[in-house]
């Protein structure tokens, strides 16, 4: 088992864990944490699998940097909306039914 594969495996676990948190939690901040953990998980899978047994691959590196920036942009946007929502409704979660 190469070290790349080790991280790929932990990426798999992180994705699963994050998915659980994303669905199970109701607090929106926690869901965003879960989203970021899932994101890290999928980046680890991407790099880990790509480099397993084949050495460094710079293309996925660039992809992950892009992914990280996209993730932070999404998180920031979510926080902006979340704070406005909290201010308007006083809730930290979404109403159950529309």
């Amino acid at each position: 088992m190469s070290s790349a594969l080790v991280f790929a495996w932990s990426g798999v676990l992180l994705f699963g864990l994050g998915l659980f948190g994303f669905i199970a939690h109701r607090h929106l901040l926690r869901r965003l944490l879960a989203f970021n953990i899932m994101g890290s998980g999928s980046f680890l899978v991407l790099i880990g699998l790509a480099q397993d047994g084949r050495g460094v691959d710079h293309v996925p590196h660039a992809m992950v940097i892009t992914g990280i920036v996209v993730a932070v942009a999404s998180t920031a946007l979510a926080l902006v909306v979340f704070r406005r929502w909290y201010r308007a409704s006083g809730r930290t979660d979404l109403p159950e039914d529309t």
Binding site: V12, G16, G55, V59, I65, L77, V80, V81
Partner: protein, 233 residues
């Protein structure tokens, strides 16, 4: 346990299981992209492969990615205008922090510049440098340093737009000899990439600072905020 938890657990197990199977059963690819990257490096205009991929081979991705960042700011701006905030009064006059800042700030700027310049041959580049710039901005605000130019909306927006506009402009200008979008001529590739990175660093830094600043501030009584807005248009 609620149904939500149970279904989340089941889904999580299913996905993890499927992923595990996929990882275990994975065939090795025939295509060797790293080799192609290595072969094309001399034509990329930079020496660092990640930068080459980000700003030359797959520069289109980066272009769209900057648009994503910009989008977050646009939404924040829109919501702020829809729900007026009270003027910001964050941070305290802190002489000690100010003194430290006087030392720290130039250092941060130097680090950012180094990261940017280093990007062409070793780890570093616009994103890293931009986020360091953003850190400087955040520190400035925490120290209560009110910088007029940061509050100037037009200047701020121009700064936000600069990176993407330059990127687009370069992408389109290089087409004049009749080549596709974003095809840098070999002899200018390094310079053009550096130019793009320079403007991107600035814009990314400003974008990240804006994302931090455009959220509703602490002291937040909406009614009061609206009144304030009325007084100081």
């Amino acid at each position: 346990m609620s149904l939500r938890i149970v279904s989340a657990a089941l889904l999580c197990l299913a996905v993890t299981g499927a992923l595990a199977w996929a990882v275990l059963d994975r065939p090795l690819p025939e295509e060797n992209l790293p080799e192609r990257v290595a072969a094309a490096m001399p034509e990329s205009g930079v020496d660092h492969p990640v930068t080459a991929v980000l700003l030359n081979f797959r520069s289109y991705d980066t272009l769209l990615e900057i648009a994503v960042l910009l989008l977050a700011v646009v939404v924040a701006l829109a919501l702020r205008e829809a729900q007026p905030d009270r003027p910001e009064q964050m941070g305290l006059e802190n002489p000690l922090l100010r003194a430290v800042m006087a030392w720290l700030l130039p250092l941060i700027l130097i680090v950012a510049g180094f990261l940017l310049w280093a990007g062409s041959y070793q780890p570093g580049g616009a994103f890293q440098a931009g986020s360091v710039l953003a850190a400087a901005g955040v520190l400035l605000r925490l120290a209560g340093v009110t910088t007029a130019w940061l509050d100037n909306a037009t200047l701020m927006r121009a700064g936000l737009a600069l990176g993407l506009l330059t990127f687009l402009g370069v992408g389109l200008l290089v087409m004049i000899p009749g080549v596709p979008f974003l095809t840098y001529p070999l002899e200018y590739a390094g310079t053009l990439i550096l130019l793009i990175e320079l403007t991107l660093t600035l814009s990314i830094g400003l974008t990240l600072i804006s994302l931090f600043r455009l959220t509703p501030p602490y002291a937040d009584d909406p009614d009061e905020a609206r009144e304030q807005q009325g007084k100081t248009p």
